[in-house]
Symmetry: D2
Amino acid sequence: MRIGVLTSGGDCPGLNAVIRSVVHRAVVDHGDEVIGFRDGWRGLLECDYLKLDLDAVSGILARGGTMLGSSRVQPAHLRDGVERAKGHVADLGLDAIIPIGGEGTLKAARLLSDGGLPIVGVPKTIDNDIAVTDVTFGFDTAVGVATEALDRLKTTAESHQRVLIVEVMGRHTGWIALHSGMAAGAHAIVVPERPFDIEELAARVGERFEAGKRFAIVVAAEGAKPREGSMAYDEGGKDIYGHERFAGIARQLSIELEQRLGKEARPVILGHVQRGGTPTAYDRVLATRFGWHAVEAVHRGEFGMMTALRGTDIVMVSLAEAVETLKTVPDERYAEAECVL
Amino acid sequence: MRIGVLTSGGDCPGLNAVIRSVVHRAVVDHGDEVIGFRDGWRGLLECDYLKLDLDAVSGILARGGTMLGSSRVQPAHLRDGVERAKGHVADLGLDAIIPIGGEGTLKAARLLSDGGLPIVGVPKTIDNDIAVTDVTFGFDTAVGVATEALDRLKTTAESHQRVLIVEVMGRHTGWIALHSGMAAGAHAIVVPERPFDIEELAARVGERFEAGKRFAIVVAAEGAKPREGSMAYDEGGKDIYGHERFAGIARQLSIELEQRLGKEARPVILGHVQRGGTPTAYDRVLATRFGWHAVEAVHRGEFGMMTALRGTDIVMVSLAEAVETLKTVPDERYAEAECVL
Amino acid sequence: MRIGVLTSGGDCPGLNAVIRSVVHRAVVDHGDEVIGFRDGWRGLLECDYLKLDLDAVSGILARGGTMLGSSRVQPAHLRDGVERAKGHVADLGLDAIIPIGGEGTLKAARLLSDGGLPIVGVPKTIDNDIAVTDVTFGFDTAVGVATEALDRLKTTAESHQRVLIVEVMGRHTGWIALHSGMAAGAHAIVVPERPFDIEELAARVGERFEAGKRFAIVVAAEGAKPREGSMAYDEGGKDIYGHERFAGIARQLSIELEQRLGKEARPVILGHVQRGGTPTAYDRVLATRFGWHAVEAVHRGEFGMMTALRGTDIVMVSLAEAVETLKTVPDERYAEAECVL
Amino acid sequence: MRIGVLTSGGDCPGLNAVIRSVVHRAVVDHGDEVIGFRDGWRGLLECDYLKLDLDAVSGILARGGTMLGSSRVQPAHLRDGVERAKGHVADLGLDAIIPIGGEGTLKAARLLSDGGLPIVGVPKTIDNDIAVTDVTFGFDTAVGVATEALDRLKTTAESHQRVLIVEVMGRHTGWIALHSGMAAGAHAIVVPERPFDIEELAARVGERFEAGKRFAIVVAAEGAKPREGSMAYDEGGKDIYGHERFAGIARQLSIELEQRLGKEARPVILGHVQRGGTPTAYDRVLATRFGWHAVEAVHRGEFGMMTALRGTDIVMVSLAEAVETLKTVPDERYAEAECVL
């Protein structure tokens, strides 16, 4: 068989592990040929690819990023390209395409699958917000990086009697905030799913100081928002470049909490560090299993499907189902964190 | 309510996180009182305990080991002590006991539960071999430590054109070997579940060198054994102290492989490093959830049960069921590792 | 003897190691008594202290922050307090005070020393900008944290064909930028000591892309500034809180470079993570040696002095000399980095 | 100019950083050509080499091991090969050779230098036992790995009320033991420079338990030995393969201490993990500076010399001087560790 692989969307630790696993399983065990398209869908649309044999994937297992590169393509652009993609697939004699990507990629994958292309998807998102799989690879690494940072920040906050507001990834869901906050013992966690009340948050942090504690750590998902009316919310202005000047929930919260509590409050924005670098062992194992099972699905002809983790098993779910709903943090999980507003 | 907690059996990252979580949930949310027995069952039998309030568990979340200490008790000794334990429980006015421990502890817990004590268990084993839960805390940390060591050893092996045989924990099951071996891209993994053939193993490693590679990494669970007759197996002699002189599969394999391959082979035994120190974020979250749900089970009166992870949910399973079977590595999981004999 | 210890100024990994070392050497070996003033000079001025015996410092060696707390005191306030401090020292029967701190603290120490107090200082700054010592503890940890982040960011930058501008600590000197940039192989490093020319910087990064590379990493010390006139420099405006809206060299550089190069450029600001948490082994050893030698100096009656590292030796230098000049990055060190503008 | 580089002797984190630095400085700044001999002196003797340009060294800065490979060559063999080496150097038109290696390599370098070859050495040893340089790269990484392991082991030892004896590298000198022991707060450190008295060691550890502590950590350099007559010392026997059965100071100490103290004692042997993998930022900077200055020395024609660190400066010292004396741990440094017998 001939299989094409591509990675699309944001960077995520474990992408290389999937690519390596696909090549190992397909080439060694099945005697397949594998090619990799460069820079995601662009590579498919422009027929830009390289051959992937064992040597090509040697040493990439523990490396962050993606050896194939990634880029974002407009859905409209992709829609117009379905026929072109089919042409390339026919020309290259491909029996299957394995796109590895997040929500946008999986929607694109479904589009191409509906258009007749033989597709087996592999889900990828550090946000962990795909409902049909228990976990996605990359999430554990992101939570690990955030937790290590929080561990470090605790001693700083304590020595200086400060409130630190730490902004972690998560535009639409609060999984990284929830897990890293639980793991590091944060004193409050705010997430997009539950608009917070600034007075409540300040009260909660204030109580901590009243109980004699000398510092507090608040973890804020980047998409967290105040309950309407609870807090002046700076929509930002423009700087001399015409760029937005002020953005970020952590900065706003640090100002609002400092005003209310009379304690120094400082924002820390973890940013891209969460999505780069060596994946954790957990993510490498999950990514490797996803790659292996994607190849198996190709050989069974299960197209229009995607790999997913359920308990300890890898199962196949339909791409249609995969993109239907976002997995948000349910109330019971909030409760367990013991510190969510 | 009054709840007693204890930790028993081998050290495991995450024990303190469970203790902290029990105290947070019970004391803060339910207004319970919590005490901790010192050094496992010994503390219960000898009524040796300390009060656990919020201050007592402050700062322990990320710490390895167990603040309560641990020790091993002979089952017979425990059996004789059931009445004594019941007496202490009555005297202390305890409504429940939450023992946190591995197979031996859970068996003891069942014994006491059958004897009439109100018990909710929390499973703990870095070996991940308890069948009724998807994962146990501590396992992820152990795999992470082993993987980091394997990552380091790869460059050493490569620079010196060596075979390294790395012995990881796992007397009865090969989960740590399997996961760390997959995560680090080991070239062979041997586990207790599948006695290996030394000729097959040597052939496999030899092929790698013939293909032009300069090194090989073999991961061996400490309980891995050769297929009967396949390899001379040193039963060991006595040294001047009367102790066994020679033990360990990694040492034997390094000698056997060096003889067969004519390549330098060296053993590395990771040992206790795998079970100590700061737990990973994953283990802290799982341990925290187990503690929270154990308290909930106490309040619902679900005794004779134990917390377990199923997919993303924490569920309760009976202690009787919990200790019935060992979770061994199934064949498909071996196949996914792509490098198991 | 009776010795008082205090930590003052910004948080720095290794502070606890110094405190522990002072206590171990003084109490165990010399039979001294040691007390710790709370929150830096404030503790001395207000006679707020705790007794430090072996138990008090148990387990703090690897912990970030300072168990004694820290705060900033206005020099004027301290000047007025010299007599009060002397009174407390007399009342407490102290034979020496060991203040651990940065430039401000050492200046204060000198003031008090000139005022007649028996003082032996220990220098502390993660910036490594004290000229009379080869290195200060905390610096190695900060460089390590920054380097690990840079390692992670490289794969992200590469996968997305981006320029990442990473802001590290260093308001007046570029040591952290220089060392972390060298360690991680950054493609350009900008530091306060050498105002950069934005066109030159853009040209340098541009050449890299022209040579076929897919990404670039620029490390910027927070105090780095453009050569006058070379770049529009946003002085910032006010947001709705009256706070400055726009600050930070990394943000500005990302905009300026994106405009010039036509490549996505993104800022990453590492912030407080660099100064918190577990110190590296290097910093723990240096801090421990500083503490040990500070006690020795006390016993030799060498007051008005400060510990310093020279080669592999710990020597004593006068506080007067210590605060005279800032250690800036010399030209040859820039040249070695092979990537400094 | 044309420069040849080679790495020889045991693996050491930072070797690749030196190679990369030599290439960057020589090729980019001086317009030189650089070649790398494979597997140390063997490559030179057999004229086995590869061209090293910027692409060849891309991405190796943070990688452990050596991209050039390494091997050990018998001095006699090398002595016979001097003329052959000179012939290859002439044939290849090399203006200088930069060997990177430890004591053996530097002795060989001196031999070749005395024989008329233009040599600039770079010292390498994780043991840090070369007297003419303050530090060698690789040492900081080894100490870091050992310290992290010790941090982890402490919690295990504490939970189980054990003595752990941790064996670290150092056959002839105790630097790794001293620094990692200080960094982790070990309770005793034994090193080759000072044969220990087992009764004294046992007494010291015993006192700790008597003072109410629940565990103890002993760090032992692999070359540590008992004072003659103080302890039965197992010379080992043979196993069924004819290999030595019993070796290692940690194992012996664990047995001896367990017998004397009546406490569980366990050996942990860190082994090769200490010398592989990603170098610390400190080692990457030092290695990079060594490489840069070696190229400068070549261009100044300073042959028969070697790079060395003195304070914060890189200086050149003669190879003759370099190999004269071993740097052993002096008494004052022992004293600072506060826990050395």
